[in-house]
Symmetry: C2
């Protein structure tokens, strides 16, 4: 057909995708056309608004760098990341709840020994983290790689700070669980922080008059063979942004009471230099499969 009435155009575009080899891709693309065309019709999108959307998407892609993923951030603030999480984790069966990966995951971290301090050279209140990885029955899972990462006392991830490429990782490491499923490390207490607002997503946050804050948390990515990869955070109880996380990522079960201690020794027997916080958490994995996410940063995409 050569010329389409407005009402025929959508069907013609959907028909043009009929020969897509992969049936799942065909469904995803045809439903995408249906959704986007319906959106354009329902809103009567103007040419100027379309232009602004093209410009916004272009700048979002161009803001991505080897250490920043602006499209994930966009997905996060529109609640899409948490919805994808929800539709893929409908039955937890007692497994630990999941939440967003976030835009600051940079791929597999450098392994460090138990007890290591991942905050070397940084200011902040001292924290000791003890975690354990088990199956649904509470049986320990040993030899499991656990990537951890979190923001510093000013609310920035290492990859957001100048000189990251040369300095290398900070507040970011991999630990492998021991035979009892345990891992432990030292760090500083993370604080609540704004998502990066110097890009297109920041413009969106400003225009919608939302605050850009996330409550304080530590990211964990636990990937054991034979189990679903667990992408989650542990949030710190009492944070003022727990009820209005800009990426809708908080789940009650993931909020942990952090104990303030003044014992002169930390749990591994080494001396504490003053008061310190103890974070403990047990991660329960669900049998399954899947691979840990690969970082989707601009350099990887080139």
């Amino acid at each position: 057909m050569r010329q389409f009435e407005e009402s025929e155009l959508t069907d013609e575009v959907i028909r043009s995708l009929d020969e897509t080899s992969n049936p799942r891709l065909k469904l995803l693309l045809q439903e995408l056309v249906r959704s986007l065309h319906d959106y354009v019709r329902r809103t009567g999108l103007t040419f100027e608004e379309w232009e602004k959307a093209i410009d916004f998407l272009t700048r979002t892609g161009q803001k991505c760098t080897p250490s920043r993923q602006e499209f994930i951030l966009l997905s996060d603030v529109l609640g899409i990341s948490m919805l994808v999480d929800a539709v893929n984790h409908r039955e937890r069966d007692g497994a630990t709840e999941t939440t967003v990966l976030g835009p600051f995951y940079v791929g597999e971290h450098k392994p460090m020994p138990h007890g290591a301090d991942i905050s070397e050279g940084l200011e902040g209140e001292r924290m000791y983290v003890e975690a354990r990885v088990t199956d649904l029955g509470g049986r320990p899972l040993g030899g499991v790689p656990v990537d951890v990462w979190h923001a510093d006392d000013d609310g920035f991830y290492d990859s957001q700070k100048p000189g990251y490429e040369e300095k290398g990782p900070s507040l970011r490491a991999r630990f492998v669980t021991d035979g009892d499923g345990r891992l432990a490390f030292r760090s500083i207490l993370p604080c609540s922080y704004p998502i990066p607002i110097d890009g297109p997503v920041g413009e969106l946050i400003l225009a919608t008059r939302r605050h850009p804050m996330r409550p304080a948390h530590v990211h964990f990515l636990v990937a054991a063979p034979g189990y679903e990869p667990l992408i989650t955070h542990v949030f710190i109880e009492g944070d003022k942004y727990l009820d209005s996380d800009v990426v809708f990522g908080v789940k009650n079960e993931l909020v942990s009471k952090i104990e303030l201690r003044d014992d002169p020794q930390m749990p591994d027997g080494r001396a504490a230099s003053g008061p310190w916080h103890l974070m403990t958490y047990e991660f329960r994995l669900k049998p399954g499969h899947g691979t840990a996410p690969k970082p989707m940063l601009a350099s990887a995409a080139e």
Copy 2:
């Protein structure tokens, strides 16, 4: 609210946009969330599929350069550009039909005198174009800037070829109508061509087993004060891709019979070097307002 059931999440995200200052932006964003969330639910989008989408969008943004707009191309091949065109041009009242801007518009062109050859130095069959701009009553509109651009005999636009930045425009110019609404220029006959397939949109075309071809055409952008800007093409009758344009852009009224002539003189009295094609078209503008589109290229977006 701290933790959302899957069913509550969409409402919570929509509610978070309630304070958006601009009411139209508020509607556009809230409906976007509704559409995208519905899409994720309807398709049960997996985490791996979400990852691929993020990667695809990132690479699409990063493929944009000062002379290439991959997001417009994506909008074009999904029929979104033509749908935006359709919903904004429901009543033509006899005005010339519109079609896609396409990804090769680079902004206001350099003015050239009537009769100028915009194909200098290029191989191809010779063409003479005569056009006229009028209002709906057929009254000539003088002093109107008309941007024209088209592909070469190999199917490439100037901006797709190496050395474009240094060489400057080719097959691309602005003409201003005379008192009788007329303009005329020399060029070569454009041919049908594939859209650029070396980027993410090309991957999509390949995966969907569509052909990447557009039928031969010349772009016109006519912007007269007091009239709606007219973004259109003139297509060449007989082209084999008129019925399957990869961007769904063909309208019957825009297909023009091109006459092959062997007169020794072209219409402006200058000598022809051999047989030549005559393209004629009359553009009828609708009263209205609006500004001509600005180019949405990566450099402009930085």
